[in-house]
C-alpha cells in the first residue's frame, strides 16, 4: 500500500469521526460539561476554603480530565462495533492500524484538546496562579493524548463484552496512574520551585511509548473482538 493511500485512509478515518461528532454535537459538549461539573462538585463537597482549594486544584483538574476522557472512551469503538462498521473497517484495503490511529486522533481532537483549552478557565475557579495555569495546560496538552491512546486499548478490549462500559474504567484507570502523577505533579513541582521540566519530559516520553505501542495493541484487541 502506498504512503499516500495510507495517509488518505488515516485522514478519512479522522474526518469521518469528526463528521459524526458534528452530527451529534452534544457528544463533544457533554464531555466538556462533565469536566466542568465534576470540577465544580469538589468545592461543593469539600467546602470553600480558598487555601485548600488552591492546593488540591491541580489534582482535581487532572482527575476530572482523566475521568472525562475515560467516559468518552466508550463512544470510540462501541457504536461501530454494534452496527457492523468495525467489521467493514477490518476488511478495508487500508490496514486496520491506520484507521485505528485515525480514530484515536479524532478522539483526542474531540475530547483531550477541548479539555486542555478549557482547563485554565476552571483553574481560575480554584484561584490558581497564572504560572501554574500555564504549566497545567502544558501538562494536559502532552498528557491527554496519552490518555486517548491507552484508553483505546481498554475500549477495544471490552468491545461486546458484558458490562463493557464500566469494565473499561477498571482496565484503564490503573494504567492512567503514571500520566496522572506526572501531570498533576508538574504543577506542584513548579509551585514548590523544583521546576516542571522533568515531569513534562517524562510525560512526553510516555507519549512517545504510547504512540508507538498503543495503536498496535488496540488493533490486536479489535481483531480479537471481531472473531
Amino acid at each position: 500500500m502506498s504512503e499516500a493511500s495510507l495517509w488518505n485512509g488515516f485522514s478519512a478515518a479522522v474526518r469521518r469521526d469528526l463528521l459524526l461528532a458534528m452530527r451529534r454535537k452534544s457528544d463533544v459538549l457533554t464531555t466538556l460539561f462533565f469536566f466542568v461539573i465534576v470540577t465544580s462538585l469538589f468545592p461543593l463537597g469539600i467546602g470553600p476554603e480558598t487555601d485548600m482549594l488552591r492546593r488540591i486544584a491541580p489534582g482535581v483538574l487532572w482527575v476530572s480530565a482523566l475521568l472525562a476522557t475515560m467516559l468518552s472512551l466508550n463512544r470510540l469503538f462501541a457504536a461501530d462495533y454494534v452496527d457492523g462498521t468495525l467489521e467493514q473497517m477490518a476488511l478495508s484495503a487500508v490496514p486496520l492500524g491506520v484507521l485505528v490511529a485515525g480514530k484515536v486522533a479524532a478522539h483526542w481532537l474531540l475530547a483531550g484538546l477541548p479539555l486542555t483549552l478549557l482547563a485554565p478557565v476552571l483553574g481560575l475557579q480554584f484561584d490558581m496562579a497564572p504560572r501554574s495555569l500555564a504549566v497545567m495546560v502544558a501538562s494536559l496538552a502532552i498528557g491527554t493524548p496519552v490518555l486517548s491512546l491507552i484508553g483505546a486499548i481498554g475500549a477495544a478490549l471490552t468491545l461486546g463484552v458484558r458490562g463493557g462500559g464500566v469494565l473499561v474504567s477498571l482496565l484503564v484507570l490503573p494504567l492512567y496512574v503514571p500520566a496522572l502523577i506526572f501531570g498533576a505533579g508538574a504543577v506542584e513541582a513548579d509551585v514548590s520551585g523544583l521546576g516542571s521540566g522533568a515531569h513534562l519530559s517524562l510525560l512526553a516520553a510516555m507519549l512517545a511509548v504510547a504512540g508507538f505501542f498503543a495503536p498496535w495493541a488496540t488493533t490486536a484487541a479489535l481483531r480479537i473482538a471481531l472473531e
Binding site: 457504536a79 462498521t85 484495503a93
Partner: protein, 205 residues
Amino acid sequence: MLEADNLECVRGDRSLFRDLSFRVDGGQCLLVSGLNGSGKTSLLRILCGLLAPMHGTVRWRGQPIRALGDAYRSELSYLGHLSAVKEELSAAENVEVASALAGRSVPAQAARSALAEAGLRRREDLPVRVLSQGQKRRVALARLLLGGSTLWLLDEPVTALDADAVKWLAGEIDRHVARGGVAVLTSHQDLPLATAPLQTLRLRA
C-alpha cells in the same frame, strides 16, 4: 479464484462443518444454504478472514488469504447480518464515508447515483435513522455496488427487502458475475438469479 481447502469450523464446542472444500471461479456464483444455525454466517466470516478456521485454508488466486492480507481485502466486499450504516449520517454521507474508509473513495456524484439505483432517490439526504428497515439495507447495498471489487460475500442480502428490491439485487449480482466477478451468497429466500454457473453448497448442522 476462491478456494476453500478442508475447512473446519468450531463454534463453542460444536464442530459446524469439517472437510469442507470448494472452488468458485471468476464468473461463478456460489449459493450457501442450510438451516438456521448450520454455519452459513460462520463460513462467510471465515472466507473473508474475520474468523480463523479451526483447520484448513482459504485461498484467493492460489494464495492463502492470511498471506495476502490487505491485497485480498482490497478485492473483497462483505455484507453481513449487520448493515454497517451510521444512523446519524445521511444515506449519501454513509456511502461516501464508508467507501473512503474501505480505501476506495468515490466522488459524491457516484454515491448519489448508486443510491438512486438502489431505490433511494430523494431520500439521499435523510438521516438513515428515519429510514425503514428495508431502506437501511438498501444503503448498505448501494455501498456494495460502488466498491468495484471482484469478490462479493453477501450474508442474507435480501433481508427486509421488498419484492422489487430483491429482483433488482438479483440483477446486480448477475451483472457482477457476468463481468467475471465472484459472488458467494446465503439466503433463505429464492433469488431470481439468471446466472448460468450457480453452485449450491448445502450445510447441515
